[in-house]
C-alpha cells in the first residue's frame, strides 16, 4: 500500500496542474495582503467607525491574524476548486488517457489502488490547506505584525493574541477535514466519469447547489440542510468564538467525516465493479 501511495504521489507531483493550486494560493494571498497593506487602514476605520463611538480601541488592530481571518473567510469557497483540479482527475484522468488499461492489467488490487489514490488526493489537499495557512499567517504577520483579533459579526469577539495561534491551527485542521469531503466527492465523480473536466464541474455544481440550500433559510430546506456537508463547512468559525462550542464543533466534524466516508464507500463499490472500456 505504501508503494502504491508513493507511485500516486509521484504521478501527482510530476504534473504541472498540481502546482496550479499552490501558485494560485500564494499569488492570491500575496495580492490580498498587498492591497490591504495599501488600503487597510481606511477599510479598518470604515468597519470600526460605529464601535469607536462606544469603545476606545487601542493597539495594532490591523494585524496578521485579522488579515489571515479575512483571507480564510474569502478563500474558503475557492479552495475546493483548486483541490478538485487534482483530485477530480485521479481516476477520470487515467480513464481518459488510457493508462488505466496499463495499470489494471497488472497484478494490482483494485481496492488498494483506489484507497492509495484517495490517500494521495487527501495528502495533496492537506498540503494545499497547509500552504494556505502558512502563507496567510506568515505573510500576514510579516507584513502587519501581531495583535489581538477583533471579529465583528452578530456580536463582537475580541480574542487575545496569546490564544490565536492554536485557534488558527485548529481552524486549518478543520479545513483539512472539510477538504477530505471535497476529495471524496470529486473522487466519486471521477470514478463515474471518463473525462477530466466532468468531475471538476460536477463537484463545483454540488458545492454551489448545497451552499445555496444551506444559506437560504427557507423552511422547505430545513430537513435536508442538516445532512448537507456545506452546512458544516463554516463551522471553523466556531473556533473564533470567545468560548468555543466544542460539542457543535465535534458534531460538525462527524458530519463531514460521515459524508466523506459515504462518498468514498460509493466510489469504492462502483470502482470494484467498473468495466474499463477506455
Amino acid at each position: 500500500m505504501i508503494k502504491l501511495i508513493q507511485i500516486e504521489l509521484i504521478k501527482i507531483f510530476s504534473r504541472f496542474r498540481s502546482y496550479i493550486g499552490f501558485i494560485a494560493i500564494i499569488f492570491i494571498v500575496l495580492l490580498l495582503e498587498i492591497s490591504i497593506l495599501i488600503d487597510g487602514e481606511q477599510i479598518l476605520k470604515f468597519i470600526t467607525q460605529n464601535l469607536e463611538d462606544s469603545f476606545y480601541l487601542k493597539g495594532n488592530l490591523l494585524n496578521g491574524y485579522l488579515i489571515s481571518y479575512v483571507i480564510l473567510n474569502t478563500l474558503w469557497i475557492h479552495i475546493p476548486l483548486l483541490v478538485t483540479i487534482v483530485t477530480g482527475d485521479l481516476i477520470a484522468g487515467e480513464s481518459n488517457s488510457g493508462t488505466f488499461r496499463m495499470i489494471l492489467s497488472r497484478p494490482v488490487d483494485r481496492s488498494k489502488l483506489l484507497i492509495a489514490k484517495y490517500i494521495s488526493g487527501f495528502i495533496y489537499s492537506t498540503i494545499l490547506v497547509i500552504i494556505l495557512g502558512l502563507t496567510s499567517l506568515g505573510l500576514g504577520i510579516g507584513f502587519f505584525g501581531k495583535g489581538d483579533l477583533i471579529i465583528i459579526s452578530t456580536k463582537i469577539n475580541i480574542l487575545p493574541e496569546n490564544e490565536l495561534l492554536w485557534r488558527f491551527f485548529a481552524a486549518f485542521g478543520f479545513g483539512i477535514i472539510s477538504m477530505l469531503v471535497i476529495t471524496s466527492l470529486s473522487l466519486l465523480f471521477s470514478v463515474c466519469s471518463n473525462n477530466s473536466i466532468s468531475p471538476i464541474i460536477l463537484t463545483m455544481v454540488v458545492i454551489i447547489l448545497f451552499s445555496v440550500i444551506t444559506s437560504f433559510q427557507i423552511p422547505f430546506f430545513s430537513g435536508i440542510r442538516k445532512i448537507l456537508f456545506t452546512t458544516y463547512f463554516n463551522s471553523w468559525r466556531l473556533l473564533f468564538e470567545f468560548s468555543v462550542d466544542y460539542h457543535k464543533l465535534i458534531v460538525s466534524l462527524l458530519h463531514l467525516i460521515i459524508n466523506s466516508m459515504l462518498f468514498f464507500g460509493i466510489s469504492f463499490f462502483i470502482f470494484k465493479k467498473k468495466d474499463i472500456l477506455s
Partner: protein, 303 residues
C-alpha cells in the same frame, strides 16, 4: 502433451442491448503464437479486456494457466504481459520513469539496468530519458511492447501491436515476437488487422464474428482447406490462354494479369494443369498457391 494456457468457454458480454461477445470458445496452448482475428466490432477487444479482467463477463469461464481468472486474478496477472490497442503512458514522464512505475505496479524488483536492457531490446536506447510526449506513435508502440515484457511474463497478449509502425518497425516487432516465442518460450496471443503478419507468424488462430467463434485451428490447415488460388506464370500467355480455353481447365480459370493466369482449384488439379501446359509446349516459370489469410478471412466472415 499440449498444455492449455488460455481456455475460454461460453463467454458472454453485453453492453445494454448490444451483444459484444456471444458465446466465444477458444483454447491457446503453450508455445503458440495464437492469432485472434475478426472484423471490426466482432468482439475482439472486449474478449481481450475480459482476458485481462478489465471487463467482467456476464457469463462463461476464462481459465488461464489452468485457473479461473476472476478467482485468481492477481496470481494470474503476475504471469501476463499485455499491450492493449494503442499504448498509453504518462506523457509527462520519461520512458524510464514510466517503466519504473509500471514495474512497481507489477510488484517486481526491476533494476535500472534491466529497464535499460529492455528499452535497448525494443530499440529505444537513445530515448530512455525523453518524455513520452515527445515520442512518435511507433516509438510509443515499442515502449508498449517493452512494458508488456517488463515482468518476464509467460503469456504475452498483444492487441494490434503493429499499429502506427513503419515497414521497418513492423519487421522489427515481428522478429521480436518470433524471438520471444522461439527463443524465450513465451506464449503469444496476438490480435492484428494486418492479416499478412498473422499469416507469417501465427501457428494457430481463431476467427470470430458478431461475438461468436467462427473457426479455430492450425493456420496452414485452414489455408489448405477447400479450393486454392493458384497463379501460373508463363512465357507466352496468349498461347497458354488459348490452350486453357479449349480445355476443361477453363472452368477453373479466374483471371489473367500480365503474364500470370489465376485459377481456383483443388490441390490435386495443380500437377494436372502443369502437365497439360507442358505437353502443349508452354514454358512455365512458376506455379504458386496464392491462398492468403486475407482471402480466407473475407470468405469466412462474409459467409
Amino acid at each position: 502433451m499440449d498444455i492449455k494456457i488460455i481456455e475460454i468457454s461460453d463467454l458472454y458480454k453485453s453492453f445494454g442491448v448490444i451483444k459484444a461477445v456471444d458465446g466465444i470458445n477458444l483454447s491457446v496452448y503453450k508455445g503458440d503464437i495464437f492469432g485472434f482475428l475478426g472484423p471490426n466490432g466482432a468482439g475482439k477487444s472486449t474478449t481481450i479486456r475480459m482476458l485481462l479482467s478489465l471487463i467482467y463477463p456476464d457469463k462463461g469461464s476464462i481459465k488461464i494457466f489452468g485457473k479461473e481468472l476472476f478467482q485468481n486474478r492477481i496470481e494470474i496477472l503476475k504471469k501476463i504481459g499485455a499491450l492493449i490497442e494503442r499504448p498509453n503512458f504518462y506523457e509527462y514522464l520519461s520512458a524510464y520513469r514510466n517503466l519504473e512505475i509500471l514495474a512497481k505496479y507489477s510488484k517486481i524488483n526491476t533494476s535500472k539496468n534491466k529497464i535499460f536492457e529492455i528499452l535497448e531490446f525494443v530499440g529505444l536506447k537513445d530515448r530512455i530519458h525523453s518524455k513520452v510526449s515527445t515520442f512518435s506513435q511507433g516509438m510509443k508502440q515499442r515502449l508498449g511492447l517493452a512494458q508488456a515484457i517488463l515482468s518476464d511474463p509467460d503469456l504475452i497478449i498483444l492487441d494490434e501491436p503493429l499499429n502506427g509502425l513503419d515497414p521497418q518497425g513492423i519487421k522489427d516487432i515481428r522478429n521480436l515476437i518470433l524471438f520471444l516465442n522461439k527463443e524465450c518460450g513465451k506464449t503469444i496471443f496476438l490480435s492484428s488487422h494486418i492479416l499478412h503478419e498473422i499469416e507469417l507468424i501465427s501457428s494457430r488462430l481463431v476467427i470470430i464474428n458478431k461475438g461468436k467463434t467462427i473457426i479455430e485451428g492450425n493456420v496452414s490447415d485452414l489455408l489448405q482447406n477447400g479450393d486454392m488460388r493458384v497463379s501460373v506464370y508463363v512465357k507466352n500467355i496468349n498461347d497458354a490462354f488459348d490452350f486453357i480455353k479449349s480445355s476443361s481447365f477453363i472452368n477453373l480459370f479466374e483471371k489473367r494479369e500480365n503474364d500470370i493466369l489465376y485459377f481456383k482449384m483443388k490441390k490435386d488439379d495443380i500437377p494436372k494443369l502443369n502437365r497439360y501446359l507442358t505437353e502443349k509446349g508452354i514454358d512455365i516459370f512458376s506455379i504458386k498457391s496464392v491462398n492468403t489469410l486475407e482471402d480466407y478471412f473475407i470468405n469466412i466472415t462474409e459467409a
